[in-house]
Symmetry: C2
Subunit: 268 residues, 2 copies
């Protein structure tokens, strides 16, 4: 473990326009955004929940757009990652037999898939009428020397998910999301609390929309001290996640060793 | 269960002045504050961690001020509670054999002790050199028809403690605290997150001090929607905690039934 390991993260917060077929333009946009991210020195590009197709499309349309984890979408993203020497996180509806999952891939900078996560906490009928739930909460991969983990949107609202990651060694938790108004509280308060209480970095990356009940943006990277780390540059948000910051936060308040799981009963 | 149950809470945020013997004046001040709370319509008065004596006094001084749960301090507070028909939460160093605990009492409006809690998560050497740790996390009592629970300061920074209370039916979590600068993040961000994610009311009541590294005040009552409920009136902060608000928040986002504890491993 090297205390000087640092990963520069770029976050892409695309606009969602209802009725526009986002998936048709996704790969073209991703190519441009990956070039900008790599040009800004990023080693990792994070995009929102279901970034390849759009989210909340209904059961039929989602099933129509679904692809297996080794389908042509995955191959195309892998080529972009390898071309720009950039790890990329993207979301898509994953078909597997008769099931469709709300999945994210972490593609390494060499173009190979480093991790796949299937959303475990399905949100209301928006998810439940469309997706099967994943059953594997802690999925990790190395990103530039840090242990990165993947969860999706509603998952992060449960403190147990982030705690499970922290206890399993996750240092940078990547959370593609699709958060709508009026739930800005989640981005503004819950995400900083999660990072602080479980002492890791969180990259929370959302869509945005001008619609009054649409996606609220507010993408952010929060450090283990609970403070935002990100700065906007062009169309992207950049942030540095470094192990030295993790070490300092964990020394300042030892939440993980100070837990008393024997007292928590069903909440441990 | 009656959806219209409402408890009016008064919070007292006393000033801490280093070197002044707070315990000598505590009962006199409490008498005045209880009169103001009852006069403002409150059914419950909450005071900070170790409110009867002051906190962070060192091992020798704390042991000198320690009293058993049925000692003269408890009897005097009980008389004040009964006189004003007001439930009162106060903290004191509790002696029990050779041990001293960082304890809080919830005294009912009839002057009988309804609940006693001993801090379970000791904070650094400030607590560990002075106190034994309690081993009973979920202590509850009825306050005006709501199920109230008690934890202390550092306890609430662990999401597991509040979750355990929510799963056990706590509707109003009372948290006497002694939070110092520069940890304002706890009061401003972590407490609203706790109330929102576990869908209960939290009354978080601190000392204040003008010292740069002293107690930071920021006492608050947060609703299950994550928003502050309290208004200052005179020297007190008043807030109403009602079951209808709990029911609405739990319908809006069903965090408790949507948990998947089978996935959480050591973090469940």
């Amino acid at each position: 473990m090297n205390a000087s390991e640092t990963v520069r993260i770029a976050c892409w917060q695309p606009e969602w326009v209802t009725g526009r077929a986002h998936h048709d333009e996704f790969l073209g946009r991703l190519e441009q955004v990956a070039a900008a991210a790599a040009g800004g020195g990023a080693g990792l590009l994070v995009t929102p929940e279901m970034s390849a197709t759009g989210y909340h499309l209904g059961r039929a349309r989602t099933a129509e757009l679904a692809q297996p984890a080794d389908g042509p979408l995955a191959e195309a993203v892998a080529r972009i990652a390898a071309r720009h020497r950039l790890a990329i996180v993207y979301g898509w509806p994953e078909s597997d037999g008769d099931d469709v999952y709300n999945s994210v891939h972490l593609v390494g900078a060499d173009g190979t898939v480093a991790a796949r996560y299937r959303k475990t906490h399905l949100y209301s009928d928006v998810d439940r009428t469309v997706f099967a739930a994943g059953d594997d909460l802690v999925v990790q991969a190395d990103v530039g020397g840090l242990t990165a983990g993947l969860i999706v949107c509603y998952d992060v609202e449960f403190p147990e998910t982030v705690r499970a990651h922290a206890l399993a060694g996750t240092e940078l938790l990547i959370v593609p999301t699709a958060l709508v108004r009026p739930w800005e509280f989640v981005a503004r308060t819950l995400i900083p609390a999660r990072a602080f209480e479980s002492q890791l970095f969180i990259a929370y990356v959302n869509w945005h929309s001008s619609s009054p009940d649409g996606y609220c943006g507010l993408s952010t990277v929060i450090g283990p001290d609970g403070h935002p780390r990100a700065e906007v540059s062009g169309d992207l948000l950049f942030a540095d996640a470094g192990r030295a910051t993790l070490v300092a936060a964990r020394l300042a308040t030892p939440y993980l060793p100070d837990r008393r799981p024997e007292l928590y009963g069903g909440a441990r």
